[in-house]
Each structure stands twice: as structure tokens, then as C-alpha cells.
Amino acid sequence: MFKKFSTSTDIAGQTPVKSSVQRSLRAAVLAQWKIEPETLDVIWPKKEGLVHVKCREHISIYTVHGEPIFFQHFDGPIYPTLRVLHKYPYILPLVRIDRGAIRFLLAGAHMMCPGLTSAGGYLPPSEEALAADTPVAIHAEGKEHAVGVGISKMSSEEMRKVNKGVGVETVTYLGDDLWALQTI
């Protein structure tokens, strides 16, 4: 989503978010992420104004003090930025890619099932199976911190069964243009 993103051409405008809209956004974040309200208050204090940065192709980035906190495509799922995920890694379910897949991910590729099902990879066990279209934290073999944020394209059970094609679509990753954008 942010492999090529430039503030001068891809941002249409910035507007403060109305408090009624902020309330419904906050409720949506609390429903979608595994986060306690009081921890979310630290990332996004109630008294601070949230700013909506409207971008090309219906991408919305939301910032606090100019710092991107989360983003959304149309009215799809709300993704944390990778920096927020690094601070609170447990807010999204975790998948892991094997070492061989890391360099492809860092070039912006989506993650193929074999990179997730191999010995170096990880998918949640069947009792905690991941549904399709779930935002996930993408971790990497041998690394402590997440390397990207993605969305599952099929359930984790299907990934194991089919074991080919794209399992997780990469949404943002280490070194993409959103990563480079520390403040807007």
C-alpha cells in the first residue's frame, strides 16, 4: 500500500476529526485490536486531536501530533502503523515468515503460503485459527520485532491445506514510504 508514497503527490488534505467520529473510531479500534482502552489512551490520548490525512486511492492515515498512528483503506480494517505495532506487539495476531522470505517482503512482496508453513514460519494452531481478511503482525524467523503488517487472504487452516499462492497480503513493511514518514 505504501511501497511508493509521497507526501507531495499522494496526500489530498488534512482535517481534524470531529469528536463524534473520534468516538466511533475509538470503538472500532477497541473492537478490532486486542488492546485495553487505557493503553489505547496512551497511544491516542482522548484530549489530543486526531487528524485525518486523506490520501490517494481512498487511503486514510490518522495522526496524533503529526505522527501516523493507524490507517485504513475505504472503510476496511484499521491497521496500526509498524512503529505502533513495535511498541504494542500483542494487539494483532501473529504470523511468521521464514528467513528466506524476509528479503522478498522487504521488497514489498505479498507473502506466499510456503513461507508461512515451512519450518521457519509460524501460523496459529488450529484451535486459534486465523480467519480470512484478518489484520496480522508479520514477524520473521530469528527476529524479535515485527517486519510488517498484513492481512490474511485465506484462513490459516486453508494456508496449511492449499500451501500455495498468497497467504498474507503485505500492507506496510519496514522501509516502505510509510515507515520513512515519521511525521506528516
Binding site: S8, E36, E38, T39, D41, V42, H86, K87, Y88, P89, D98, R99, G100, I102, R103, L106, S118, A119, G120, E141, G142, K143, E144, H145, V147, L174, G175, W179, A180
Partner: protein
């Protein structure tokens, strides 16, 4: 506002009362939940990645130097022989050596690119153009600042507030971005560049020239 203050006072009073009868306080339910502290992640000052990912960037040599100097313990953790052995993980030796070759190639490419960019920067020109709108009105167009990594929007804002006038980023007929300031401020802009005011840093004054763009006089 007043109501909130009162509420605070009440809770304070309640807290004080609880302090005196600890046993009963315990029965009053759990304390308010505390936010979970964030994980403190160190980021590489060279490539901005967490240091464990520097090996995939295009500046590994410089990243390693930085880490060794600033965080020798982490350097040991990531780059000691055992660490290098361990991290290969499930990757085959073949794939690992391919990865290392790729990284070296990427690094050489990035270095060459940086060199070229520097050369280009040192040779790029900035023009400050004084454009005559009509007899008494001028605008000043500045072209080429972006080659020196200057954010044009921010620079326009700085000019606007400095000269208390309008300034904007627009595309010139060639499709390149330039800053247009209302009024003739070309000498002042040159001065600001020379004195490196605000965000106008790192521009050699020799690369800046002022040009005039006069309306052709109607022949009579």
C-alpha cells in the same frame, strides 16, 4: 470543568478514607486498570530499522560501525560468530550466501547512488527569478530547492511568514515544482539562503543566481 474538579476532590477524599481502613478497601473491587507499558524498540541511527534487520538494508557496513560504537553488547548479540551461525536458521547455506551477495551488491549500488546524488546536488542550480507582473507588481519564483532536500511546502510557509505575503508551491510550465512568492523579495531570499535561515540549510551560495524576467515592452 467545575463539576470535574469536584469529582476529583471526591475521589481524593475517598482515597484518603480508604487509606485509614485498608481491610475494607480491599473489598471495594479491583484498582483502576493501568495502561500496559510499550516495548522500547531501538532503531538504527543509520538505516532506521531495528538493528536485527540492518543485514537486509543497503548500509550494513555503516550500520555495524554505528552499533559497535553505541551498543557493543547488541553488536555481540547480532554479529558474533555464534549469532551469525544461529540466525541462518532454516535457510540453506546456498540461500544464505546468495543473501549475503545480494546485500553486498545492494550496498555497492546504494553507495554509487549516494555518490551520484551528492555530485548532482553540488552541481544543481537554484534560480531566483524576479518576474514582472505589471509595472509595479512583481512575483519571485524560486526553482531548484528540492535538490538540496528542502521541503518546498515548508519553505513556502517560511517565506510567507517572513515576508508577510503569499507564497505557494506551484508547477512551472515545464512541470517542475517551484515556490512563488508575491512581491519582489529576490535579494532577501538570497540573503536568507546565505545565512541559512530556518530550513534553508546546506545550499552553497555559489549555486544560486538571480534572474530578471521582464515583460517585453510593447513596441511603439
Amino acid at each position: 470543568m467545575g463539576a470535574k474538579k469536584n469529582r476529583d476532590k471526591n475521589t481524593n477524599a475517598a482515597a484518603a478514607a480508604e487509606g485509614t481502613t485498608e481491610a475494607s478497601a480491599e473489598q471495594q473491587g479491583p484498582p483502576p486498570p493501568e495502561p500496559k507499558p510499550p516495548v522500547e524498540v531501538l532503531y538504527c541511527a543509520v538505516c532506521s530499522f531495528p538493528p536485527e534487520y540492518c543485514e537486509f538494508g543497503s548500509s550494513l557496513t555503516k550500520c555495524k560501525e554505528w552499533l559497535q560504537e553505541t551498543h557493543p553488547d547488541l553488536f555481540q548479540k547480532y554479529y558474533s560468530d555464534e549469532a551469525l551461525q544461529a540466525k541462518i536458521g532454516t535457510l540453506s547455506l546456498e540461500a544464505q550466501s546468495k543473501l549475503e551477495k545480494d546485500v553486498a551488491k545492494k550496498e555497492a549500488k546504494a553507495d554509487a547512488k549516494a555518490d551520484a546524488a551528492l555530485k548532482k546536488k553540488l552541481s544543481s542550480q537554484i534560480t531566483i527569478k524576479r518576474i514582472e507582473r505589471n509595472k509595479r507588481k512583481h512575483v519571485t519564483a524560486i526553482h531548484g530547492l528540492e535538490a538540496f532536500n528542502i521541503d518546498l511546502k515548508k519553505a513556502a510557509k517560511q517565506f510567507a511568514s517572513k515576508f508577510a505575503t503569499g507564497a505557494s508551491v506551484t508547477k512551472n510550465p515545464q512541470g517542475q515544482d517551484e515556490i512563488v512568492i508575491q512581491g519582489d523579495v529576490s535579494d532577501e531570499v538570497l540573503e536568507m539562503i546565505e545565512e541559512e535561515v530556518g530550513i534553508l540549510k546546506g545550499i552553497p551560495a555559489d549555486n544560486v543566481e538571480i534572474v530578471e524576467d521582464k515583460k517585453k515592452k510593447p513596441a511603439d
